[in-house]
């Protein structure tokens, strides 16, 4: 069954390879500086390396958008995203896989009555504009600098040719690596909790964790996508928008790789934070948008005459259409899977202000004079609960979010049986952490936060730390695995 559900993830990986990844080398191939075969092989290898080596550290912004809580639901979300990307790839449009996933998750949210986190959504949508803009600016500056440098050092035509060629391959490989690292979580992330793999050690020299093995499979799917189906999109990116000279192609690829790096580097974020500088949100950005932005940047630098605005308009509208199609496909397929094939596509998450939740809310200092009417009443899903909350006047938006989190019902029981089924996977849980969990054996929890608090009470290791964004994200990630593990349904 796992393999069946994994197939949609692999399909999504394949689409990612056929579409997003082809952007990386599109301009190099389009300007005929690098052969398609060389580009495809180089791209595949570095995506795979990025996925396996750096994939585990990728940000989980998409997870915040909506938490698809059954494997069948995850299957449909991945499948709808993949189908949308595939259809756009067939038309030759460079669309973004993350856009498609965002659309598919929103479709699931609508179907399951979950709330879409509009704060995260707006953050993601803003990057859809910021990313191509930033890419265009970087390309513009980079191009100017390179033109000045080439003018100064008076370089021979053939030497410039070979340097550009190597530059294209090196920057393309860098882009492919960061793409693999950033996007593998989109493709395979939902399958980590249900992975049947165990860690493998290679003669004690190095170790592949279960997650890395999963990412490896996803990486292979992406690579297959690159090798089999990326040619058409490469042509659109490389030649469709405007004819690029090899030096311009190099600038485009470099700007693209830099933008991917800027939006995904946790190291850079830490550095900026440490020096008191404003940080860039870590959001999985689309390589298609970065490439298209960079091409436009160079086009504008040349007065905009060479840009084929019709092609560009087509690409722009495909960016709007993709998430909408993905959302609709996702919604309709979920409906069919649920009602025709009788599969559970989502686990209903009821909400109620229990006495424990009430105590927590009061402790936070939120005045609950009007919530009295809601006390003890169970709401079928987040949407209904939020609607009831919205009727109350005196609540700040942040208070509402706090109440929402406190009232989420998610029954869990830490049983001996379940404790024994935890696979040791160094990527998400260690022996010591399991030991702490064992101390909670026999206890039941109504809310997620109760389990959080119980764990934090036993060991400081389970406490979120101040200014430790990376640590806290990892902790949250671990907790979501634990919720999945100990969840039970009393219905």
């Amino acid at each position: 069954m796992f393999l069946f559900f994994l197939s949609s993830g692999l399909f999504l990986g394949w689409s990612l390879g056929a579409n997003d990844a082809s952007n990386v080398f599109g301009t190099a191939v389009g300007s005929k500086m690098v052969r398609f075969r060389t580009a495809a092989i180089c791209c595949s290898i570095f995506i795979l390396l990025g996925a396996v080596i750096s994939g585990a550290g990728a940000s989980h912004t998409l997870g915040k958008l909506g938490s698809v809580n059954t494997i069948a639901g995850a299957f449909i979300v991945a499948l709808s995203a993949a189908a949308s990307v595939y259809s756009m790839t067939k038309l030759g449009y460079p669309v973004s896989t993350s856009q498609a996933i965002v659309g598919a998750i929103i479709g699931w949210n609508f179907f399951s009555g979950s709330l879409t986190d509009y704060h995260t959504l707006s953050k993601i949508v803003i990057t859809w504009i910021a990313c191509p803009t930033l890419s265009a600016i970087i390309a513009l500056i980079l191009y100017k600098v390179i033109v000045i440098v080439i003018g100064r050092i008076k370089i021979d035509m053939f030497r410039l040719d070979s340097m550009t060629r190597y530059g294209l391959i090196v920057m393309g490989a860098f882009g492919a690596y960061s793409l693999g690292a950033n996007n593998i979580a989109n493709v395979m992330g939902v399958f980590i909790p249900v992975s049947p793999f165990a860690d493998i050690s290679f003669f004690g020299l190095f170790k592949l964790t279960s997650t890395q093995q999963l990412f490896f499979i996803g990486g292979v799917a992406i690579s297959v996508g690159v090798l089999t189906y990326s040619r058409k999109v490469m042509a659109t990116v490389g030649e469709g928008i405007m004819n690029l000279s090899p030096v311009a192609a190099l600038v485009v690829v470099s700007a693209h790789s830099l933008v991917l790096f800027l939006f995904a580097s946790q190291g850079l974020e830490a550095f900026l934070k440490h020096h008191g500088l404003p940080t860039i949100p870590l959001v999985p950005v689309s390589s298609s948008q970065a490439i298209v932005g960079a091409v436009i940047g160079i086009g504008l630098l040349k007065g905009g005459r060479g840009i084929r605005w019709r092609v560009l308009g087509g690409i722009g509208s495909s960016w709007i259409v993709t998430p909408i199609i993905a959302a609709m496909v996702s919604f309709i397929s979920l409906f069919f899977l649920q009602n025709v094939f009788e599969q559970k596509t989502y686990r209903p998450v009821p909400y109620a202000i229990t006495s424990e939740a009430m105590a927590r809310i009061q402790k936070q200092g939120i005045s609950l004079e009007e919530t009295g009417s809601m006390l003890g009443k169970e709401f079928p899903d987040a949407k209904h609960f939020y609607k009831a909350l919205s009727n109350l006047n005196n609540l700040e938006p942040s208070d509402r979010v706090f109440i929402l989190n406190s009232a989420e019902i998610d029954p869990m029981a830490v049983t001996f049986k379940k404790l024994k089924t935890i696979n040791l996977d160094s990527d998400w849980i260690t022996k010591q952490e399991i030991a702490v969990l064992e101390k909670l054996e026999g206890r039941k929890f109504q809310h997620k936060w109760q389990l959080d608090e119980a764990l934090a009470k036993i060991s400081p290791h389970w406490q979120p730390i101040e200014n430790g964004k990376k640590y806290n994200e990892r902790l949250q990630h671990k907790m979501s695995h634990i919720y999945d593990k100990f969840r039970y349904s009393d219905k």
């Binding site: 005929k32 191009y143 030497r159």
Partner: protein, 216 residues
């Protein structure tokens, strides 16, 4: 491996240099050959013909090698067509030098004393026009921004060549004691040599466009 490929690319640059040398040499041989012919030094003239045939042959071999390498290694994709055209055109100039000398050898025209100096002058102007084209082409490969330093000289030499050709034709047709057929034969020689400068100008006009296309 990387360095080996880089070295290969540099070799191609050097091969282009050698090819341009051949075109330039052909001009010098042409000038020396015409001079020998006008001085009635037939032995030296025939030696120059042998030399220019050799040079033309070497130029052809180099051109073929370069064309093959450019395609096989898919070098300079954005300018490959232009560079190939430039190669062909420069080679055509080389051929014209050889052809003109051959024409002298086949027809052995009876040149008139009064025209000899002007004919020498015409030859050297034509060679200068080609030389300026070769210098511009060299600059195109090495540093395309400096092409403008040389290319403006080509139209100058071409117009000088036109003037000299007109002067020569006037002298020929006003010469008494020559039959019409002799006059027509001499005019044909003048036009044949003058045409080399015209072709050099055509090549430089195209080169101007290649430079614009390559500008960053």
């Amino acid at each position: 491996m990387e360095f080996r490929i880089l070295k290969k690319r540099l070799d191609i640059g050097r091969q282009f240099d050698v090819f341009l040398d051949k075109v330039s040499e052909a001009g010098l041989l042409f000038k020396a050959g015409v001079d020998a012919f006008l001085s009635d030094d037939i032995e030296s003239f025939e030696n120059k013909i042998d030399d220019i045939i050799e040079t033309e042959h070497e130029g052809d071999t180099l051109r073929r090698n370069l064309e093959e390498t450019l395609y096989i290694q898919t070098l300079i994709p954005e300018s490959r067509g232009d560079v190939l055209e430039l190669l062909e055109n420069l080679d055509a100039l080389l051929d014209r030098f050889k052809g003109a000398l051959w024409k002298f050898n086949i027809e052995r025209p009876q040149l008139i004393e009064a025209c000899n100096d002007d004919f020498r002058e015409l030859t050297s102007i034509v060679v200068e026009a080609v030389e300026a084209t070769v210098r511009s082409s060299r600059a195109f490969f090495k540093d395309s921004s400096s092409v403008t330093d040389h290319i403006h000289k080509v139209p100058y030499w071409e117009s000088q060549s036109d003037k000299m050709a007109s002067k020569l034709q006037q002298t020929i047709f006003r010469q008494e004691g020559l039959s019409l057929s002799e006059k027509l034969q001499l005019r044909d020689f003048v036009k044949h040599v003058d045409k080399i400068a015209d072709r050099a100008e055509d090549v430089s006009d195209k080169l101007r466009i290649y430079v614009i296309k390559r500008s960053l």
